[in-house]
């Protein structure tokens, strides 16, 4: 019924809306490109900060940008050897 009504009033999706939505999604991915240099710098700084609180396995550290359809996430896998008791 609702579908029939919306069709009656010409509320079909306009192609420009489709274009905008596709652009929005593709740009989420395009914009989430970290250059290798930046990624290295990020890794170094993370190690620096984390080392204040725990002993981490630097060689086992993995930092990556994971992309799904709608979003981009920074995913880090950081093996911890020992947590410090105080700062």
């Amino acid at each position: 019924m609702l579908e029939w009504l919306s069709r009656l009033f010409g509320a079909t999706e306009q192609s420009k809306d489709k274009a905008k939505e596709r652009l929005r999604l593709v740009l989420v991915h395009d914009r989430a490109v970290l250059s290798p240099g930046l990624l290295d710098a990020l890794r170094e700084e993370m190690i620096h900060v984390l080392s204040k609180y725990m002993e981490i396995d630097e060689k086992g550290l993995e930092v990556n940008l994971n992309r799904s359809d709608e979003s981009v996430a920074l995913v880090a896998n950081i093996p911890v050897r020992r947590v410090k008791r105080k700062l």
Binding site: Q14, K16, D17, L23, L27, D30
Partner: protein, 267 residues
Amino acid sequence: MGKSIVVTSGKGGVGKTTAAANIGTGLAQIGRRVCLVDADIGLRNLDVVMGLENRIVYDLIDVVEGNCRIRSALIKDKRLENLFLLPAAQTREKDAVSPEQMQVLIEDLKKEFDYVLVDCPAGIEQGFKNAIAGADVAIIVTTPEVSAVRDADRIVGLLEASELYDPQLIINRIRPDMVRKGDMMTTEDIIDILAIKLLGIVPDDESIIVSTNRGEPSVLDKKSLSGQAFRNIVRRLEGASVPFLPIEERSVVKRLLRMFNNVSGRS
């Protein structure tokens, strides 16, 4: 000291060269000293769009390599005496010039001209890097298509990485009839996505093809709608606040009204 502006887009065929030719000619028309620089080494076209292809003796590479002085490579426009073109080399590769050399060249030109307009090649490789090397500001040209807007966004990022901030956008080939039907992204849609400043909207206009056929930028044609759009862009570049051309109107009455308004001194 003048100002250097690079006209770029990422995607090819969106109207970079036409925009550069029209903006340059428009600025010269209001009395500014303008030098157009074709940075598209190997695929030069600004010369034909300007109708100056028969006058080329030396080119940009000759200047950079020291085969001639800048003065002898500059081609004076047929119509405007304060407008010049530095043509690209047609038979050389893009790496025949370096960003550092371009920077020196543009700096030299800025001493002589109010505006140095650089027409950038399509793509994001060496030619792009050369073209943006000496630029103070950037104009990005796009069309209301997914591919062109996507590439424009990429260019925004690359310009930022080269410390060229706050580029301004020209949306070319807008078709009011399609926008009205919802089959073309609106100016607002595109600005919303790219989040950069709008410099101008240029309607899709057959007169552009006619003027390119003739080698006469449409900005010189008082009756051309795209010419009007470029004249507005020129005034905005000069700091004036000019309302954007309404893309909705199409009716004969509205057109006549606008023509009447223009004649009665509003433009």
